[in-house]
Symmetry: C2
Subunit: 153 residues, 2 copies
Protein backbone atom coordinates (compact mmCIF):
# COMPACT_ATOMS: atom_id res chain seq x y z
CA UNK A 1 0.00 0.00 0.00
CA UNK A 2 1.14 3.52 -0.73
CA UNK A 3 -0.40 6.96 -0.77
CA UNK A 4 0.54 9.31 -3.56
CA UNK A 5 -0.49 12.70 -4.84
CA UNK A 6 -2.56 12.69 -7.98
CA UNK A 7 -1.62 14.76 -11.01
CA UNK A 8 -3.93 17.54 -12.19
CA UNK A 9 -4.97 15.36 -15.14
CA UNK A 10 -5.83 12.44 -12.85
CA UNK A 11 -7.88 14.77 -10.61
CA UNK A 12 -9.81 16.10 -13.63
CA UNK A 13 -10.37 12.58 -14.96
CA UNK A 14 -11.91 11.56 -11.62
CA UNK A 15 -14.19 14.63 -11.64
CA UNK A 16 -15.22 13.87 -15.24
CA UNK A 17 -16.32 10.30 -14.49
CA UNK A 18 -18.07 11.15 -11.19
CA UNK A 19 -21.51 12.57 -10.54
CA UNK A 20 -21.72 12.70 -6.76
CA UNK A 21 -19.59 14.82 -4.46
CA UNK A 22 -19.60 16.45 -1.04
CA UNK A 23 -19.94 20.19 -0.96
CA UNK A 24 -18.49 22.05 2.00
CA UNK A 25 -19.44 25.62 2.79
CA UNK A 26 -18.89 27.74 5.86
CA UNK A 27 -20.52 30.61 7.71
CA UNK A 28 -18.79 32.43 10.55
CA UNK A 29 -16.31 29.55 10.56
CA UNK A 30 -18.96 26.88 11.11
CA UNK A 31 -18.44 24.30 8.32
CA UNK A 32 -21.37 22.47 6.72
CA UNK A 33 -21.09 19.46 4.39
CA UNK A 34 -23.76 17.93 2.12
CA UNK A 35 -23.78 15.23 -0.56
CA UNK A 36 -24.75 16.64 -3.95
CA UNK A 37 -24.88 15.70 -7.64
CA UNK A 38 -22.64 17.64 -9.98
CA UNK A 39 -21.38 17.78 -13.53
CA UNK A 40 -17.82 18.78 -14.33
CA UNK A 41 -16.65 20.76 -17.34
CA UNK A 42 -13.54 22.85 -17.87
CA UNK A 43 -12.83 24.98 -14.81
CA UNK A 44 -16.32 24.53 -13.34
CA UNK A 45 -18.44 22.15 -11.34
CA UNK A 46 -22.17 22.58 -12.01
CA UNK A 47 -24.96 21.92 -9.48
CA UNK A 48 -28.58 22.53 -8.73
CA UNK A 49 -30.36 22.72 -5.38
CA UNK A 50 -33.49 24.06 -3.81
CA UNK A 51 -33.09 27.09 -1.59
CA UNK A 52 -31.92 26.13 1.88
CA UNK A 53 -29.05 26.42 4.35
CA UNK A 54 -26.25 25.77 1.87
CA UNK A 55 -27.52 28.33 -0.67
CA UNK A 56 -28.03 30.90 2.08
CA UNK A 57 -24.53 30.28 3.39
CA UNK A 58 -22.82 30.30 -0.02
CA UNK A 59 -24.53 33.58 -0.92
CA UNK A 60 -23.05 35.02 2.27
CA UNK A 61 -19.65 33.34 1.82
CA UNK A 62 -18.82 32.09 -1.70
CA UNK A 63 -15.70 30.16 -0.62
CA UNK A 64 -16.43 26.46 -1.00
CA UNK A 65 -14.73 23.09 -1.13
CA UNK A 66 -15.94 20.11 -3.16
CA UNK A 67 -14.64 16.65 -2.29
CA UNK A 68 -15.11 13.76 -4.71
CA UNK A 69 -13.89 10.21 -4.30
CA UNK A 70 -13.94 6.69 -5.66
CA UNK A 71 -13.82 4.11 -2.92
CA UNK A 72 -13.17 0.53 -3.98
CA UNK A 73 -12.64 -0.69 -0.42
CA UNK A 74 -11.92 0.69 3.04
CA UNK A 75 -8.23 0.94 2.21
CA UNK A 76 -8.33 1.57 -1.51
CA UNK A 77 -9.55 4.92 -2.69
CA UNK A 78 -8.91 8.09 -4.64
CA UNK A 79 -10.02 11.45 -3.33
CA UNK A 80 -9.98 14.84 -5.02
CA UNK A 81 -10.49 18.20 -3.35
CA UNK A 82 -11.49 21.23 -5.39
CA UNK A 83 -11.36 24.60 -3.68
CA UNK A 84 -13.24 27.35 -5.43
CA UNK A 85 -15.92 29.98 -5.41
CA UNK A 86 -19.70 29.86 -5.65
CA UNK A 87 -21.46 31.55 -8.53
CA UNK A 88 -25.25 31.48 -8.79
CA UNK A 89 -26.50 31.12 -12.34
CA UNK A 90 -29.18 33.79 -12.39
CA UNK A 91 -31.02 35.13 -15.38
CA UNK A 92 -30.57 37.29 -17.35
CA UNK A 93 -26.83 37.62 -16.62
CA UNK A 94 -26.05 33.91 -16.82
CA UNK A 95 -28.72 32.87 -19.32
CA UNK A 96 -26.36 30.83 -21.52
CA UNK A 97 -24.55 29.23 -18.56
CA UNK A 98 -27.87 28.34 -17.01
CA UNK A 99 -29.07 26.58 -20.17
CA UNK A 100 -25.72 24.78 -20.29
CA UNK A 101 -25.96 23.69 -16.64
CA UNK A 102 -29.51 22.38 -17.23
CA UNK A 103 -28.23 20.30 -20.12
CA UNK A 104 -25.21 18.94 -18.22
CA UNK A 105 -27.39 18.02 -15.24
CA UNK A 106 -30.31 16.79 -17.30
CA UNK A 107 -30.75 13.36 -15.74
CA UNK A 108 -30.74 14.31 -12.03
CA UNK A 109 -32.63 17.51 -12.85
CA UNK A 110 -35.43 15.61 -14.62
CA UNK A 111 -35.66 13.24 -11.66
CA UNK A 112 -35.90 16.22 -9.33
CA UNK A 113 -38.73 17.78 -11.38
CA UNK A 114 -40.65 14.50 -11.01
CA UNK A 115 -40.20 14.59 -7.24
CA UNK A 116 -41.50 18.16 -7.13
CA UNK A 117 -44.47 17.32 -9.38
CA UNK A 118 -45.46 14.36 -7.20
CA UNK A 119 -45.14 16.48 -4.09
CA UNK A 120 -47.42 19.12 -5.60
CA UNK A 121 -50.09 16.57 -6.52
CA UNK A 122 -50.26 15.48 -2.91
CA UNK A 123 -50.24 18.78 -1.12
CA UNK A 124 -50.79 22.50 -1.41
CA UNK A 125 -47.07 22.98 -1.00
CA UNK A 126 -45.77 25.76 -3.18
CA UNK A 127 -43.47 24.72 -6.00
CA UNK A 128 -39.92 25.70 -5.15
CA UNK A 129 -37.96 25.89 -8.38
CA UNK A 130 -34.37 24.67 -8.08
CA UNK A 131 -31.47 27.08 -8.37
CA UNK A 132 -28.49 26.32 -10.55
CA UNK A 133 -25.00 27.32 -9.52
CA UNK A 134 -21.44 26.54 -10.40
CA UNK A 135 -18.15 26.48 -8.55
CA UNK A 136 -15.16 27.99 -10.29
CA UNK A 137 -12.25 25.70 -9.43
CA UNK A 138 -9.31 27.67 -8.07
CA UNK A 139 -7.19 24.77 -6.85
CA UNK A 140 -7.33 21.04 -7.29
CA UNK A 141 -5.49 18.29 -5.42
CA UNK A 142 -5.92 14.58 -4.95
CA UNK A 143 -4.64 11.56 -3.09
CA UNK A 144 -4.49 8.08 -4.51
CA UNK A 145 -4.26 5.11 -2.21
CA UNK A 146 -2.91 2.39 -4.44
CA UNK A 147 -1.85 -1.19 -3.85
CA UNK A 148 1.83 -2.17 -4.12
CA UNK A 149 1.27 -4.30 -7.23
CA UNK A 150 0.10 -1.20 -9.08
CA UNK A 151 2.94 1.04 -7.95
CA UNK A 152 5.55 -1.65 -8.67
CA UNK A 153 4.29 -2.12 -12.28
Amino acid sequence: MAMREMTGDDCRALLARSSLGRLGCSLEDQPYVVPINFAYEGDYLYFFATYGQKIKWMRANPRVCVQVDEIAGQFQWQSVIAVGSYQELEEPRFELELAHARKLLERPYRWWLNVLAERQLKSDEELIPPLFFRVRIESLSGLDNVSESETAG
Copy 2:
Protein backbone atom coordinates in the same frame (compact mmCIF):
# COMPACT_ATOMS: atom_id res chain seq x y z
CA MET B 1 -39.93 9.00 -4.24
CA ALA B 2 -40.00 11.19 -1.16
CA MET B 3 -37.52 12.95 1.04
CA ARG B 4 -38.05 12.85 4.76
CA GLU B 5 -36.23 13.90 7.90
CA MET B 6 -34.66 11.11 9.88
CA THR B 7 -35.30 10.67 13.58
CA GLY B 8 -32.41 11.00 16.04
CA ASP B 9 -32.46 7.21 16.53
CA ASP B 10 -32.25 6.61 12.77
CA CYS B 11 -29.33 9.07 12.54
CA ARG B 12 -27.48 7.30 15.35
CA ALA B 13 -28.16 3.89 13.80
CA LEU B 14 -26.61 5.04 10.53
CA LEU B 15 -23.53 6.38 12.38
CA ALA B 16 -23.23 3.09 14.28
CA ARG B 17 -23.16 0.92 11.16
CA SER B 18 -20.86 3.23 9.18
CA SER B 19 -17.09 3.57 9.26
CA LEU B 20 -16.38 6.21 6.61
CA GLY B 21 -17.46 9.81 6.70
CA ARG B 22 -16.55 13.24 5.38
CA LEU B 23 -15.09 15.66 7.86
CA GLY B 24 -15.52 19.36 7.20
CA CYS B 25 -13.46 21.98 8.96
CA SER B 26 -12.97 25.67 8.29
CA LEU B 27 -10.34 28.34 8.74
CA GLU B 28 -11.08 32.01 8.17
CA ASP B 29 -14.28 30.86 6.50
CA GLN B 30 -12.51 28.69 3.92
CA PRO B 31 -14.12 25.22 4.22
CA TYR B 32 -12.09 22.03 3.74
CA VAL B 33 -13.56 18.51 3.38
CA VAL B 34 -11.77 15.14 3.61
CA PRO B 35 -12.90 11.50 3.66
CA ILE B 36 -11.98 9.82 6.95
CA ASN B 37 -12.61 6.63 8.92
CA PHE B 38 -14.43 6.97 12.20
CA ALA B 39 -16.02 5.00 15.01
CA TYR B 40 -19.19 6.17 16.71
CA GLU B 41 -20.07 5.77 20.36
CA GLY B 42 -22.46 7.73 22.57
CA ASP B 43 -22.10 11.45 21.94
CA TYR B 44 -18.76 11.12 20.15
CA LEU B 45 -17.23 10.28 16.81
CA TYR B 46 -13.64 8.98 17.11
CA PHE B 47 -10.89 9.46 14.51
CA PHE B 48 -7.18 9.28 13.94
CA ALA B 49 -5.04 11.18 11.45
CA THR B 50 -1.46 12.20 10.86
CA TYR B 51 -0.67 15.85 11.41
CA GLY B 52 -1.62 17.94 8.40
CA GLN B 53 -3.94 20.69 7.21
CA LYS B 54 -7.10 19.40 8.87
CA ILE B 55 -5.46 18.98 12.29
CA LYS B 56 -3.85 22.41 12.03
CA TRP B 57 -7.19 23.95 11.10
CA MET B 58 -9.22 22.13 13.77
CA ARG B 59 -6.74 23.17 16.46
CA ALA B 60 -7.30 26.76 15.35
CA ASN B 61 -11.08 26.37 14.94
CA PRO B 62 -12.67 23.38 16.70
CA ARG B 63 -16.07 23.76 14.98
CA VAL B 64 -16.53 20.84 12.63
CA CYS B 65 -19.17 19.04 10.61
CA VAL B 66 -19.18 15.31 9.87
CA GLN B 67 -21.34 14.01 7.03
CA VAL B 68 -22.06 10.28 6.72
CA ASP B 69 -24.23 8.59 4.12
CA GLU B 70 -25.41 5.32 2.67
CA ILE B 71 -25.98 5.56 -1.05
CA ALA B 72 -27.77 2.65 -2.68
CA GLY B 73 -28.21 4.46 -5.99
CA GLN B 74 -28.04 7.96 -7.41
CA PHE B 75 -31.57 8.66 -6.20
CA GLN B 76 -31.75 6.49 -3.12
CA TRP B 77 -29.72 7.51 -0.13
CA GLN B 78 -29.63 8.46 3.54
CA SER B 79 -27.39 11.25 4.77
CA VAL B 80 -26.61 12.33 8.32
CA ILE B 81 -24.92 15.55 9.37
CA ALA B 82 -23.31 15.84 12.79
CA VAL B 83 -22.22 19.29 13.89
CA GLY B 84 -19.82 19.33 16.80
CA SER B 85 -16.50 20.30 18.27
CA TYR B 86 -12.99 18.91 17.87
CA GLN B 87 -11.19 17.51 20.88
CA GLU B 88 -7.65 16.17 20.54
CA LEU B 89 -7.02 13.09 22.69
CA GLU B 90 -3.69 14.03 24.23
CA GLU B 91 -1.92 12.30 27.06
CA PRO B 92 -1.96 12.51 30.01
CA ARG B 93 -5.29 14.36 30.16
CA PHE B 94 -7.16 11.99 27.85
CA GLU B 95 -5.26 8.78 28.59
CA LEU B 96 -8.38 6.64 29.05
CA GLU B 97 -10.21 8.17 26.09
CA LEU B 98 -7.12 7.64 23.95
CA ALA B 99 -6.93 3.95 24.83
CA HIS B 100 -10.63 3.68 24.11
CA ALA B 101 -10.30 5.40 20.71
CA ARG B 102 -7.40 3.07 19.79
CA LYS B 103 -9.59 0.09 20.58
CA LEU B 104 -12.63 1.40 18.67
CA LEU B 105 -10.48 2.17 15.63
CA GLU B 106 -8.33 -0.93 15.89
CA ARG B 107 -8.76 -2.25 12.36
CA PRO B 108 -8.04 0.94 10.35
CA TYR B 109 -5.37 1.91 12.90
CA ARG B 110 -3.53 -1.39 12.50
CA TRP B 111 -3.67 -0.99 8.72
CA TRP B 112 -2.25 2.50 9.09
CA LEU B 113 0.64 1.27 11.26
CA ASN B 114 1.51 -1.21 8.48
CA VAL B 115 1.55 1.58 5.91
CA LEU B 116 3.88 3.62 8.12
CA ALA B 117 6.15 0.64 8.78
CA GLU B 118 6.46 -0.11 5.06
CA ARG B 119 7.17 3.52 4.31
CA GLN B 120 9.94 3.56 6.90
CA LEU B 121 11.60 0.44 5.48
CA LYS B 122 11.84 2.14 2.10
CA SER B 123 13.02 5.58 3.08
CA ASP B 124 14.65 7.66 5.77
CA GLU B 125 11.32 9.35 6.29
CA GLU B 126 10.70 10.11 9.91
CA LEU B 127 7.88 8.17 11.56
CA ILE B 128 4.93 10.45 12.11
CA PRO B 129 2.73 8.94 14.80
CA PRO B 130 -1.01 9.42 14.21
CA LEU B 131 -3.04 11.67 16.44
CA PHE B 132 -6.36 10.57 17.86
CA PHE B 133 -9.22 12.97 18.24
CA ARG B 134 -12.94 12.93 18.78
CA VAL B 135 -15.84 15.14 17.83
CA ARG B 136 -18.43 15.85 20.46
CA ILE B 137 -21.76 15.79 18.65
CA GLU B 138 -23.79 18.91 19.40
CA SER B 139 -26.50 18.48 16.81
CA LEU B 140 -27.55 15.67 14.53
CA SER B 141 -29.87 15.69 11.53
CA GLY B 142 -30.54 13.44 8.60
CA LEU B 143 -32.41 13.11 5.34
CA ASP B 144 -33.78 9.87 3.98
CA ASN B 145 -34.61 9.56 0.32
CA VAL B 146 -36.99 6.66 0.20
CA SER B 147 -39.03 5.04 -2.55
CA GLU B 148 -42.84 5.32 -2.59
CA SER B 149 -43.36 1.60 -1.90
CA GLU B 150 -41.54 2.01 1.41
CA THR B 151 -43.39 5.15 2.49
CA ALA B 152 -46.76 3.66 1.52
CA GLY B 153 -46.13 0.49 3.57
